[in-house]
Symmetry: C2
Subunit: 246 residues, 2 copies
């Protein structure tokens, strides 16, 4: 695994030059390994680097007034979850690993230099932050739907994003999170997430075990989750290129 996922995003806006590809393939910075459940950046911090996720999985979260942890996004390889720290000095949320993860810490100064000198790279990164916002909007909408839809939608979204960076194998991808974490992300109790997953499993729409998500019936799950991937602004919709298992 390398910075390949970022390259795919560059190409999402059109042809890239060799210089641009070289740059993204050899980003300056320090590779770091974090344990699971480690706060890479915390609410209130003033980071001096941004983190490109190379391997593993992370989430952004806030603690609400009643003390509950509210997950606002999940992040997979190729994401730069804290790019906002380039332009906004104080963090208004935290970024934590979900599993042991490898990240590339890129100093702000280096990143700013790249942005200044390569307008098209800046364009790609800006676009990524806008898609980030589009995902938040979708979550706002989906979170007003019933639990069954929310859970199905989350699984569709995760698979689609993993697929977009080449991290799926057939109808399976990694999803190393607990039911309680799904609840934290969807505003549901762990008990209710459990019941909902059982329902989806009973309908043969998903399997979720050992940190692996399998979607035997992709169209069925999309219908269950009222999932329309347009908001992700990928080149192709989820699974459009591959047939689901019969």
């Amino acid at each position: 695994v390398s910075t390949t996922p970022l390259l795919r995003r560059l190409e999402a806006i059109g042809a890239s030059t060799q210089a641009e590809r070289d740059l993204l393939a050899n980003l300056p910075g320090t590779t770091k390994h974090y344990d699971a459940h480690y706060d890479i950046v915390s609410d209130g911090d003033r980071p001096s680097v941004v983190c490109l996720i190379l391997e593993g999985m992370a989430c952004r979260y806030k603690i609400s007034a009643d003390g509950k942890r509210q997950i606002v996004s999940f992040h997979i390889p190729g994401d730069i979850p804290d790019i906002q720290s380039l332009f906004i000095d104080v963090m208004d949320h935290s970024l934590a690993t979900l599993v042991p993860s490898k990240v590339l810490a890129i100093p702000h100064a280096r990143m700013c230099g790249i942005i200044d000198e390569h307008p098209r790279i800046a364009h790609v990164l800006w676009r990524e932050t806008l898609i980030d916002a589009a995902v938040f909007r979708e979550w706002i909408v989906v979170r007003s739907r019933p639990a069954y839809v929310r859970v199905a939608h989350l699984l569709c979204e995760h698979f689609a994003r993993m697929d977009a960076v080449g991290l799926t194998e057939g109808d399976t991808c990694a999803l190393p999170i607990t039911q309680a974490q799904i609840g934290d992300a969807l505003g549901l109790s762990d008990v209710h997430v459990n019941r909902t997953l059982q329902e989806l499993r009973g309908e043969n729409l998903i399997r979720l075990q050992d940190g692996k998500l399998t979607i035997p019936d992709r169209e069925g799950l999309k219908a269950a989750g009222e999932f329309d991937p347009r908001y992700l602004h990928l080149k192709r919709g989820m699974g459009d290129t591959r047939a689901a298992r019969g």
Copy 2:
């Protein structure tokens, strides 16, 4: 009213040059007047301009699978709600006026030219899109709290944003929306919004009539809404400069 609110945002990141101020004060484009409840941009459109709101109020919304209109953000003068169309071709949501409004439609080409030639203006605009995302995150969190908190929070946020662009008078600002629209934004039924507003009114935390919001007890409302304005990344917190009425 002019492009003044945008100028304030430029200054949020530091000293500005005369050229920058002149540019923002004389943005190229066409001034347009829209009726209330008019779709400026619709889901699926491919806009060729971006809209700077000069007067009035707008909202972004999506229609969820059950046919309900879900408002994902409100916009006030100084906002450019559809700046994402510069970098993402197809709209994944709609933008509509709430009241008769005046907007400046700036062609994409002109806007791109400005961004290319004025890195610091680009910086401000990028920063605004990141704050936009921060507001979405906050909504995700707040929408998992009880109705009472949600409503109070929304009112605090609106007042704080209006205050930041100089559109408040004492403890009052414009908020020309119906209770049903508040419900669409908060994921509550209009009936429940009504009861919640009565509760807040009964506690003398707010008054809301004739499209005007008055907050007699700002600290009380902030407490009720569990409102911490850090996520808005303004220069000053809501009402920090003015004492609440005793």
